[in-house]
Amino acid sequence: MELKVPSELLTARRPLQAVVFPAALTAFLVLLPIVLPYEALAAQILVYALFSLGYNLLFGYTGLLSFGHAAFFGLGSYTAGLLARKVTANVLWTLPAAIGAGAVAGAVVGFFCLRRRGDYFSLMTLAFGQLLYFIAHQWREVTGGDDGLRGIPVAHLQVGPWTFALESSRDVYVLLAVLTFVAFLGFRRLLSSPFGTALQAIRENELRAEAVGYDTFRLKLWAFVLSAAMSSAAGALNVYLLKFVGLNSLHWITSGYAVLITILGGAGTLLGPLVGALAFVGLQDILSAIPAIVDRWPFFVGLLFIVCVLVFPHGIWGTAERLQTRLRWRVSAAGEMGG
């Protein structure tokens, strides 16, 4: 008997999906602030979703475990915050500036770190991250040191006929939702492009990818730059939301959160970061509302993470995708037999 693999499983490019994915994402983004008790929470989820989306490109799709992504998140925060204070609070200037700063920093850090592999790569990213942390810590006149930057001014954002009053969490959420929609659709496209498949080839077997003729260093560097730029954008957006830049945004613990969210949602899945951020921020919110816990929520996050690593190594969305694939296999197998 011949084993047939249903072709849609391999390509997953049915015409319906071109509509279903954006529609489902839109529905999710519209419902999120309605279901949640307040908009700032929904906005925080999207900030972390974008941070982890950038992180996932590097970790989930290229297989590079960076422990220094707080550097880019923080860099974006400080760029947006400092520009808003000293030059202009216009998001149309500060957001691209933060993305640019993240991309340039990503190119420099990536260039050095990618010369090493495995654990050494992780430790180098960590070292660069902490380097930036201590620079910000010492350079009080510019960064405010331990205190961070408080009271970041915001300006109304005018895009065509729409005005976003960024003083309100509600409008920040709308801005974030639009950017999240664009970012996820863009990443979806990117991942199915030759560039995206080449990255996944590197993740599966770098030597083989190299043998086939890919310039793996260049590809990894591009992945690093894109990932850093996205993390930096998330950092800037966090400032529009909080009106504050904290020194902690640069600490390696923040890098750890990106790793946590990505794994929790499902590394190497497109929607993993969104699901992970929802679970992470939601859990944090629920836990810190319990009087006995409040600030001790990371304890339970850590416990959950241990369980996750032991029992659900593929994360929430990764496990869901696997179940779905198995189900489709069964359905199509049953169909074959019946027909």
Binding site: M124, L126, Q130, L131, F299, G302
Partner: protein, 287 residues
């Protein structure tokens, strides 16, 4: 600047480096055998300091604390390895590393839940308080003791690795775990033992550092990254490398504090990045 001041700065740097040496040896040991970058090492260091402080509080004897902290941390380490990290072998190193990160969160926050955000008092023991005359300057007695304790610890670890059967198995496992197992060594026990020993060293480092730097839940966050730096500079898995790099980095940082305090925290990372670029395997690493 006078020769005395320079000498004093040198000795101070060596003492700072000594704590890094102990913590980094543990990290290096774990990496050498289990191939895991242990992100919980800082949390274990902190827990060791807490246990030592409590032991002093209950018994009144610093010496007992210096035994209790590493021994109970060794037991705790074996527990963590058997219960969690050991279950992740063969799943890719990423998951083991992430598991240690999660353990770090749980331990730090667990300590805060149990004992609050302010740590216990941990004073320099009476018999080690005061100063000694080094000839060129007065120097705190306790700091000299830390140096001595570090030297003894390094010798002890060397002896354990090179003169005991368990040490032989540990070294064999770091060379070729499969062959070691084929020769009849219970590799699971060796891995657990090596992890326990590494964690014990973290605990001892914390116990020694406690009276110098104070005991608080976050005390391990910085030293974790600093000992990563030391291990990378010295060469992952190399005992001699951790010793030399620890002392070297301590001295370099001490002089940076003197001449360019702004760079004192940054110089470590610059050294590490430079090492990785020029001699990626570290000073004494092989590969």
């Amino acid at each position: 600047m006078s020769a005395q001041a320079l000498l004093l700065q040198l000795v101070t740097g060596v003492v700072v480096g000594a704590i890094w040496v102990i913590v980094a040896i543990g990290l290096s040991l774990i990496f050498g055998i289990l191939r895991i970058v242990n992100f919980a090492h800082g949390a274990f260091y902190m827990l060791g300091a807490y246990l030592a402080a409590f032991a002093v509080g209950w018994t009144g004897h610093f010496w007992i604390a210096l035994l209790v902290a590493p021994l109970s941390m060794a037991a705790f380490g074996v527990l963590v390895e058997r219960g969690l990290i050991g279950r992740l072998y063969g799943r890719g190193l990423v998951y083991s590393v992430l598991a240690t990160y999660a353990v770090s969160l749980v331990v730090i926050e667990g300590v805060k839940i149990l004992w609050g955000t302010v740590g216990p008092q941990f004073r320099v023991p009476a018999e080690l308080a005061g100063m000694v005359n080094l000839g060129f300057s007065l120097f705190p007695k306790y700091r000299l003791f830390v140096l001595l304790a570090t030297a003894l610890t390094v010798l002890g670890v060397w002896w354990w690795l090179h003169r005991t059967p368990m040490g032989l198995f540990v070294r064999a496992a770091s060379q070729d775990p499969l062959m070691t197992q084929a020769l009849g060594v219970d590799i699971a026990r060796v891995l657990a033992g090596a992890f326990g020993a590494g964690v014990a060293l973290a605990g001892l480092g914390g116990a020694l550092a406690g009276p110098l730097r104070g005991v608080f839940p976050e005390m391990g966050l910085d030293i974790l990254v600093e000992s990563f730096v030391v291990v990378v500079i010295g060469g992952m898995g190399s005992l001699l490398g951790a010793v030399v790099a620890g002392l070297l980095v301590g001295v370099v940082q001490s002089f940076t504090f003197l001449w360019a305090p702004v760079f004192a925290n940054v110089v470590l990372f610059l050294l590490m990045i430079a090492t990785l670029l020029v001699r990626p395997q570290g000073l004494f690493g092989t590969e």
